[in-house]
Each structure stands twice: as structure tokens, then as C-alpha cells.
């Protein structure tokens, strides 16, 4: 049974059909690439999976449960976490607080305890502090715990977002262009990080990325989207050699040449 399955998913915004009849599935432990030209509808697919938008048509099944149209919070609790193409951190909170805020799902103290700041609260806060540190260590941000999130350089902000997603303890992790704006060295670094977290946390990953070398390196299987529709699905080899993919990316002339 696949971990995630999209069945004929369509999303229309007024007249614009951003995603049209897309179906694919992801098995547990897999890492697949989701590629396509700008505006193809990749991010919209993430938004549909995570409940930010409700599909106009079709179904999304995760871990055996139909999550079509469920609220983002319940989808997170079911085990899906994501990062955003345009980084969305809690800017005015510190790096550490960004992680701890996510971990609060596990904090089982009540309002009364919180108001009086009972020892229970301080104990749990300390526990979550330590746990946050672990996640920050994984992405290599321990030196910055007290900095405000928006004071970090771009590349580190992306890593913080990944750490925040990991802290949600997901089964499925959606990464939306994690390598955007990174130089080749940083890309190598990122590939290693993704491989590491996949192994450590036993993750299934869908990766949207324009850096083809990153996708080729990480994803044995790739889904290609063009103008909201699924163009093809196949192994890295197949996609690389497919004329339709070239055409979608480079235009008619190049593909024929």
C-alpha cells in the first residue's frame, strides 16, 4: 500500500486550472522528485496535499486515510510536514523558539500551570529546549540558537525550516525548492543533509527542485508536471531521455535540434 496517493486531483482558481487530473503515488521510504517549469503547479500540489487548498476534484489518501479537504492542522498530525518555497519562518522568534513552538504539540501542561509557571512548566520547557537542540544539531544550527530567525542568512533559514518540519515528526516530508538560491557547494551540502535526515528519521520525501543535479542525485523516481498536468512519471534515466520533458523545459526548437 502506498503511503500517499493522489487520485485524479484537480484544482481551479476561478478560471485558472492550476492542477489538472494529477494522479501519482509514493511508497513508504521512497524519495521522489516533482519537477516542471515555472508555474507548472508543483507548489499547488503541495498546498493540496497539506490542506492549504481544497481540491476542486479528486482524492488524496495518506497512510490509508482519506485526507481530502481535511484541515492543515489535522494533516500535520496525521504525519505530513513541509517547507515553503518562500521561506516562512516565525521571524521574530529566535532560532530555538522556532523549533520549540512546533514541539509544543507534545507539551501537556494546562493554562493554569502556564499562568503560574509551575515547576511542571519549567521542566517541560527545559525538556523541549533540549529536544529542539537535537534537531538544530542535525541541520548544524547550534551556533545560532539565540539569533532571531530573520537574521540568519538565506541558506541557514532554509535549513531552519527543514529542522522545523522534522520537529513535527512526520512520516512524509515535502520539500519545496530547498536548494533555491544556493551555490554548488551548498547544494552538495544540502544533498548530504537530505540523505542524512531521510535515514535518521526514516522519512518518505517528495522534493520539488529546479536544480536538476540535486534531483538526479537524490531521486530514483521523478514525476514531471507541465501546465498543471502530469507529463510523465519514470526513473531518472527515463525522464532525462524523454523528448517531451526537454520540450517542456526548453521549448519546441531545442527539443528537435
Amino acid at each position: 500500500m502506498p503511503l500517499l496517493e493522489l487520485k485524479n486531483v484537480t484544482k481551479a482558481f476561478g478560471g485558472i486550472i492550476a492542477v489538472k487530473d494529477v494522479s501519482f503515488s509514493v511508497d513508504s521510504g521512497e524519495i521522489i522528485g516533482l519537477i516542471g517549469p515555472n508555474g507548472a503547479g508543483k507548489t499547488t500540489i503541495f498546498n493540496l496535499i497539506t490542506g492549504v487548498y481544497k481540491p476542486t476534484e479528486g482524492n488524496i489518501v495518506f497512510d490509508g486515510k482519506d485526507i481530502t479537504g481535511a484541515s492543515p492542522a489535522s494533516i500535520v498530525n496525521a504525519g505530513i510536514a513541509r517547507t515553503f518555497q518562500n521561506i516562512r519562518l516565525f521571524n521574530k522568534l529566535s532560532v530555538l523558539e522556532n523549533i520549540r513552538t512546533v514541539l509544543y504539540r507534545e507539551a501537556d501542561y494546562g493554562l493554569g500551570d502556564a499562568l503560574l509557571r509551575t515547576p511542571k512548566v519549567t521542566r517541560i520547557e527545559k525538556k523541549l529546549y533540549d529536544k529542539s537542540l537535537e534537531y538544530l544539531e542535525v541541520v548544524g544550527l547550534t551556533d545560532f540558537i539565540k539569533n532571531r530567525a530573520d537574521s540568519l542568512p538565506y541558506g541557514l533559514q532554509r535549513k531552519l525550516e527543514i529542522a522545523r518540519a522534522l520537529a513535527l515528526d512526520p512520516k512524509l516530508l515535502l520539500l519545496d525548492e530547498p536548494a533555491a538560491g544556493m551555490n554548488p557547494d551548498e547544494c552538495v551540502d544540502l544533498v548530504e543533509l537530505i540523505e542524512k535526515i531521510k535515514k535518521t528519521y526514516d522519512l518518505t520525501i517528495i522534493l520539488i527542485e529546479h536544480h536538476m543535479d540535486v534531483v538526479m542525485e537524490l531521486c530514483p523516481r521523478i514525476v514531471v508536471i507541465n501546465f498543471g498536468e502530469m507529463l510523465m512519471e519514470g526513473t531518472t534515466q527515463e525522464v532525462q531521455n524523454d523528448s517531451r520533458v526537454l520540450k517542456a523545459y526548453l521549448g519546441e526548437e531545442y527539443a528537435n535540434a
Binding site: F13, G14, T43, N47, V52, Y53, F84
Partner: protein, 290 residues
């Protein structure tokens, strides 16, 4: 009695619609509640009043003066108070707070400079009434209604038939795409504020003629926000329909039940609407781009 109440209701509703249209226009493009809109309406009423009483201009000329004056004030408001925030892409909460500040500032400036007198417009239409199916209809009500509808229709034509209008609608749909397509956003937002101000001036004069001119008349302009919520924030047809519905219902409540609870009633409408139809009559849930 019924017909008379209905017509009065529609005429008040027409003024509410005039007020709501400007507010909604700004909301649709900048996504924030411009609480200074009511104050511009109030200032429009003052301009109209002083033109007609101190400068002895005719009513049409004063109306034009008020429209131009309010449009200019609205643009000034944008340039001085909002633009610094828009340029920084501040959150809409900040714009809303600024708008509130502008409104408090201007309203109380009027208080300390002009004073809290109530001014009434000189009689424009003779106090006579028109008989209409046995009901007494005031010509002022009728004129206000007809004039409101005509000007809103003109705005509709402008937004759908001209190039600038189309650009405004495109921008209200998606700011980023509009600026990509080579539309100059700064200019466009300026035009939107001029338009909103012009409608504020129009509404202000009618409001002043119907009630009176005084610093806190901005309170009535809160009805613009209610009308917009009922119709659906950011939707122009919604603002018009919301305004008309609000005007009629309110008039019936004050005639048949009690005028003290009229305002409470209007605001309860907002709450009721949000319970049964959260996005208003014609608004839709905005799916924020993520």
C-alpha cells in the same frame, strides 16, 4: 407608509453603497481595512458645506468641489501615510493601524479647529413631497438614490471597459502578476485612492444634506464597513448590494421597531452574516497564495 419606508430605505442604502464602494475598492487592491475612508467622507461633507454656504456656489458646483477635494485628500492620505508602509510591504495590520490613526487625527483636528457645531446644508429641494401611490416621497431621497446608482454604474463601466479599469481589476486579483505585466502599481494605487476619495466626497455631501455636517458624522460612515462585510469584503457588487440591504433593513427597524436599536441591529447583522455566510453575500474565501 410601507412604500415610503422602502424608498427612504433605498435612498439611505444608496448612500451606504456610495460609501462602501470606495472602501471596498481600496480593500480589494491593498487588502486592508481603510478606516480613514469614513473621515474622508466627513471632510468631503465639510468641503461641500463651506463651498455652498461661504462661497455661495451652486449645489452642483459644490458637489463637484467636494468630490475633487475629497479625492485629493484621499490621495494625500495615501502618499503621506500609507505609501511608506506599502513600499516596505508591511503587514496589513500595520496599514489598518495607520488608517485608524489618520482617522482619529483628522476627526479631532476638525474638532479643535472647526469646532463641534452642527451645520446644515441650505435647502436644495423644497420641502415639498411627491405623491407616489399615495405615499409621500421626499425628492431628496429619490434624487440621492438615483444619483448614487448612476455614479456606481459609471464606476462599473470604468472598471470593465477602460484599460486602467481592467488593470485595477487584474491587480485586485493578483498584485504580483499585475506588476509583472508592466502595470505601474504605484500609479494604479494612486488612481484607486482618487476614485475612492471621489466617491467619499459624493457620499459625504449627500450624507450632509440628509443628516447634518459635524465632526463625528464619521460614525455613520461605519455603516460602509458593515455594508462591505455583508456584501463580502473586497467585492464591489457586494458593497452595493450590502449597502442597499443595510439601508432598507435599518429603515424598517427604526420605523417599525425602534430607532435606538437601529445601530445595534446593523452590527448584529454583521455577526449573523459571519455565522451563516462567513464570506458575505458575494465575497469568496480568498485562497491566499502560499
Amino acid at each position: 407608509m410601507f412604500l415610503q419606508t422602502l424608498i427612504t430605505g433605498f435612498s439611505i442604502g444608496g448612500i451606504y453603497a456610495l460609501m462602501a464602494v470606495g472602501y471596498s475598492l481600496v480593500f480589494s487592491i491593498l487588502n486592508f481595512s481603510n478606516f480613514a475612508h469614513g473621515t474622508i467622507i466627513m471632510l468631503g461633507a465639510y468641503i461641500g458645506y463651506f463651498l455652498i454656504s461661504s462661497f455661495n456656489l451652486s449645489f452642483p458646483l459644490s458637489l463637484i468641489g467636494a468630490v475633487l477635494g475629497a479625492a485629493l485628500l484621499s490621495l494625500l492620505n495615501l502618499r503621506l501615510a500609507y505609501n511608506p508602509l506599502i513600499n516596505r510591504r508591511s503587514p496589513s495590520l500595520y496599514l489598518m493601524i495607520t488608517a485608524m490613526g489618520v482617522s482619529i487625527f483628522l476627526e479631532n483636528m476638525v474638532y479643535v479647529t472647526v469646532g463641534s457645531h452642527f451645520y446644515s446644508f441650505p435647502e436644495i429641494f423644497k420641502q415639498s413631497t411627491i405623491k407616489f401611490f399615495g405615499s409621500d416621497i421626499s425628492p431628496l431621497d429619490l434624487a440621492a438614490l438615483i444619483f448614487s446608482l448612476i455614479s456606481i454604474y459609471a464606476l462599473h463601466i470604468f472598471l470593465t471597459k477602460t484599460k486602467i479599469g481592467t488593470a485595477i481589476r487584474a491587480a485586485s486579483y493578483d498584485m504580483t502578476t499585475a506588476s509583472l505585466n508592466g502595470v505601474n502599481m504605484t500609479k494604479l494605487i494612486g488612481i484607486v485612492f482618487l476614485l475612492a476619495g471621489a466617491f467619499a466626497g459624493l457620499a459625504g455631501v449627500f450624507l450632509g444634506v440628509k443628516y447634518m455636517v459635524y465632526p463625528t458624522m464619521g460614525w455613520i460612515t461605519n455603516k460602509a464597513y458593515i455594508a462591505a462585510v455583508i456584501g463580502g469584503l473586497g467585492s464591489l457588487p457586494g458593497a452595493v448590494i450590502g449597502g442597499l440591504i443595510l439601508g432598507v433593513l435599518e429603515t424598517f427597524v427604526s420605523v417599525y421597531i425602534s430607532s435606538t436599536i437601529r445601530d445595534v441591529f446593523s452590527f448584529s447583522m454583521v455577526i449573523i452574516f459571519l455565522v451563516i455566510q462567513p464570506a458575505g453575500l458575494l465575497g469568496k474565501y480568498l485562497e491566499e497564495k502560499v
